[in-house]
Symmetry: C2
Subunit: 162 residues, 2 copies
C-alpha cells in the first residue's frame, strides 16, 4: 500500500498482509520484565516446567506487534491507528525463533454521527507463525479519520470510541 488511507478508502472485504517479524528470547524477556513478569515469559529454564514446556511470549506482545505489522507494513492509515478496543484469541504459544506475519481483512465500516471526522473500521487480523499456524486472531475496532474531517481539531479528553 502507498499513501495514507482514510475511512473512505476502505471497503468491506479489503485485505492487507504484512510480515515478517522475528521473535527472540531477548525481546520476549524484555517485554515481560516491564509488562508481564511471569516465569514462563522470563526464564527459559524454569519455563520448561510450565504448561508451555518452554519460554513463550506474552500475548500482549504478540497483539501489539501484530498491530505494528498491520500499520507499518500492511495498511498505512491516516493519522496512525487508534484502537477503540477489540477481541483477541491466543491460539498457540509464540516461542523464540518464531517468525510472525499477519493477514487482515476489513469486516465492517461504521460512520460516526456524532463525529463526522472519523469512523470505526472492524478489522480482523490473523497472525501466523513460520509453519503457517495461526497463533492469534485479533478483531479490532480501529478509529480511522475521514477525508472530510481531516481539518478537524484535536478531540482532547473525550472517550475515543464514541
Amino acid at each position: 500500500m502507498t499513501g495514507e488511507l482514510y475511512l473512505e478508502d476502505l471497503e468491506v472485504g479489503q485485505r492487507f498482509h504484512a510480515g515478517e517479524i522475528g521473535m527472540n528470547a531477548e525481546d520476549i524477556i524484555r517485554f515481560a520484565r516491564d509488562n508481564d513478569p511471569q516465569y514462563f515469559h522470563l526464564d527459559p529454564e524454569t519455563a520448561k516446567a510450565s504448561m508451555f514446556g518452554g519460554l513463550v511470549a506474552s500475548g500482549w506482545q504478540t497483539a501489539a506487534l501484530s498491530m505494528r505489522l498491520l500499520i507499518e507494513r500492511g495498511a498505512s492509515f491516516a493519522g496512525g491507528v487508534i484502537g477503540a478496543g477489540g477481541d483477541v484469541a491466543w491460539l498457540r504459544p509464540v516461542r523464540p525463533g518464531d517468525v510472525l506475519r499477519i493477514e487482515s481483512e476489513v469486516l465492517e465500516i461504521t460512520l460516526s454521527r456524532a463525529h463526522p471526522e472519523r469512523g470505526i473500521a472492524l478489522v480482523k487480523t490473523t497472525t501466523y507463525n513460520q509453519r503457517n499456524e495461526p497463533v492469534q486472531i485479533l478483531t479490532a475496532r480501529l478509529v480511522v479519520p475521514t477525508r472530510q474531517g481531516r481539518e478537524a481539531a484535536p478531540a482532547g479528553d473525550e472517550p475515543i470510541g464514541s
Copy 2:
C-alpha cells in the same frame, strides 16, 4: 489474597482489586518504541496535534499492566495467569502522570472436559485512573489450573484455549 488460587477456589461474583501503578512519559515511550511506535505514543510535542492532544499510552501497555496488577497484587493464581483471549475496550486515554488501579470480578467458571487439570475463568477487569474514571474494560478468558490436576505434565504445543 494469600496463597495460590486454583479453579476450585474461585466463585462467580468473587472480586479482586489492586493498585496502584503510576504512568510516566519515559515508560510510555519505551513501550511504544518496541511495540507500538506511533507519534502520539512517542513524542509529547508532536502528539499535541493528534486527536488526543498529547502523549498517551499504547492500549496494549494498559492491558498488560492491568493484568500485571491483577496477578501480582489482586489474585495470585496458581501457576500464573495464562490468557486464552479476551475482549478489551479502551474508554479514555492514559496519560503521563495517571495512576491506575483495577477492579476485577469473576463472571464465569468453565471446567474443561478434555483437560481436567485446568479450566477457564472469565474475569472482567476495569482499570481506573486517579479521577476514578474507567480507562479500560478487559474481559479475559484465563486458564486456571485445578487442584486435582496440579500433578499433570506440561501440555507442550497444543492450543492453549482448548
